[in-house]
């Protein structure tokens, strides 16, 4: 400070620096202040209870105040700014004052003619900080809306199917209601044979529809085993199962996708006529081993083609995994996620 006292130009500079709304402080590396402007003194006073007497102490006080406020405070200078190079601090300190203003502190080492100087700066980033907060909030909201939209899409398809099933059921319900009334009326009086036949026919049709529609309702829960065994038999391959099949629908469908792939490979490339599927349930996964009696030998060149590749992708997307062991024949090891 003293260096400007006798120099009128210095006094002008000093005045200008004091008028600066940002905090400025220059100090020796040990912390002895050379120049502190009004704003910096004020910020320091608000934070620590005294003006800047030692810049190094001020720095550690600010660091403490900033770390108290850490968590949830986005670093404002986090984006790489090509104009700020290495001499500037990587993570600027952010301090929120009691009155809501937000200051960002930065320290810069300067090499001057007569030695090293550390320049401290405090800039008012209140507005920027608020925008940043609002942006973060908005991003969170966008992500949430997007998640809900995805759920909605899933539901549109399901709701449409359910709507159609419901319509079918309502129609059956109405038809049966009408039939009941007609039958009741018919029982109350003598019925002609043709009328009785017609009624009987109507009942039979209605019952057929009922059976069909209830099959449609439960169809999604059918076990895929029966149909797989049927097509395997068509190509002369027997499939043997050991262990309990997954109860989770998704894992069950993945299991059958894997069995189909293994079956296709075994028959097409190794002439197998038997396929073994062993399922073991561990604490958090189903371990499945699929092997065959085909002629694939360890010498055959093996590469993971389209079918196996897409099976691996499907398994990994669902949180499962796949390993091919072609050292002796061809064995497919897969892991399927257990629910939960």
């Amino acid at each position: 400070m003293g260096i400007f006292k006798k120099d009128p130009a210095g006094a002008l500079i000093r005045e200008a620096i004091d008028a600066c709304p940002d905090g400025i402080c220059a100090a020796t590396p040990e912390g002895r202040p050379i120049l502190v402007n009004r704003a910096m003194n004020q910020i320091c006073f608000e934070l620590t209870g005294h003006t800047v007497t030692n810049a190094a102490v001020m720095r550690s006080d600010i660091e403490k105040a900033a770390s108290k406020a850490q968590g949830g405070i986005p670093a404002l200078a986090a984006e790489e700014d090509p104009h700020n190079n290495a001499c500037e601090q990587k993570n600027p300190l952010i301090v929120i004052m009691k009155d809501g203003r937000v200051w960002q502190f930065a320290a810069k080492d300067l090499e001057l003619e007569h030695g090293k100087v550390v320049q401290y700066e405090a800039s008012d980033v209140t507005e920027l900080y608020e925008y940043r907060q609002r942006l973060a909030d908005n991003n969170r909201r966008v992500a949430e809306l997007h998640r809900r939209q995805r759920d909605l899409l899933e539901n549109i398809v399901r709701n449409n199917t359910e709507k159609e099933l419901l319509e079918a059921k309502v129609s059956i319900h109405d038809n049966i209601g009408r039939l009941l009334i007609r039958t009741g009326q018919a029982l109350d009086r003598d019925v002609r044979d043709e009328e009785a036949d017609e009624l009987f026919e109507s009942w039979r049709n209605e019952m057929d529809d009922l059976v069909n529609s209830s099959e449609q309702v439960t169809m999604k829960e059918n076990t895929p085993e029966k149909e797989l065994l049927k097509v395997a038999e068509m190509i002369g391959c027997k499939v043997f199962f050991e262990g309990e099949q997954p109860a989770e629908r998704e894992s069950l469908l993945l299991l059958y996708a894997a069995i189909r792939e293994a079956l296709t490979n075994a028959v097409r490339h190794a002439g197998a006529d038997e396929l073994r599927v062993a399922i073991e349930k561990s604490a958090d996964v189903y371990l499945v081993t699929i092997s065959d009696n085909g002629s694939a030998s360890g010498n055959d060149p093996f590469h993971e083609g389209g079918g196996l590749g897409s099976l691996r992708k499907r398994l990994e997307q669902a949180g499962g995994s796949m390993r091919v062991d072609s050292s002796e024949g061809f064995v497919l090891h897969i892991e399927l996620p257990l629910a939960g």
Partner: protein, 207 residues
């Protein structure tokens, strides 16, 4: 004698196709199944000459994917794609897969039996146009190819950024397409659009 495989997951439709097949003299039913992926296996040994293939089959397996597989290994097997869905991409994808014929279950003017006989004789029977579907104020035919692609990505739940990357265009171009689609249809939001597109089955993202 031709051996036919029926792939259809609705029992009512399956039974009606089986009856239809019975009326064709030189055809017999080898098997009826519900899951298209199993059809690929059933066709491996060369006993099947004809496949009547639904597109949206059991457990979300796509009949078009299965048809492409069957045609890849056994191009001699005749495949007829049957669907009741107006999904715009099905026709094109069936052609790409090398399918022989294509039949719209509910709206086609040619009866299935005729499609089967002609296909077995080596004819290719295709509908002249896709069923007309209205999305908001416009017929689906009025969307451009790019707009349809954007709509497909929207129904799959992708964000503008993801769509831009998938289609190798800028986010602003995606927004431009979306705006144009909304203007054509008169919808106020993409949610409304997607709901309509899926409900009318113009786009079925799973198949």
């Amino acid at each position: 004698m031709f051996n036919a495989l029926i792939v259809e997951d609705s029992r009512v439709s399956r039974e009606s196709f089986e009856r239809e097949l019975e009326t064709i003299e030189n055809c017999r039913l080898a098997a009826s199944i519900e899951n298209a992926a199993n059809a690929v296996i059933a066709c491996m040994k060369g006993d099947i000459d004809l496949v009547l293939m639904d597109v949206c089959t059991a457990d979300n397996e796509s009949g078009l994917t299965a048809a492409a597989q069957i045609k890849k290994y056994s191009p001699g097997i005749k495949v007829i794609i049957m669907t009741s869905m107006p999904e715009y991409s099905f026709l094109e994808r069936a052609r790409e897969a090398g399918c022989d014929s294509f039949w719209y279950k509910e709206t086609d003017e040619i009866p299935l039996a005729e499609v089967i006989t002609r296909t077995l004789e080596g004819d290719r029977v295709w509908p002249e146009s896709e069923p007309e579907v209205y999305i908001g104020l416009v017929s689906a035919g009025e969307f451009t190819k790019r707009e349809l692609e954007v709509m497909r990505a929207l129904t799959a739940g992708h964000r503008y950024e993801e769509i831009a990357e998938e289609m190798d265009i800028s986010v602003n171009t995606v927004k431009y397409h979306v705006k144009s689609i909304l203007q054509k249809t008169g919808f106020r939001s993409t949610v409304q659009l997607v709901a309509e597109v899926v409900e009318k089955r113009l786009i079925l993202p799973k198949y």
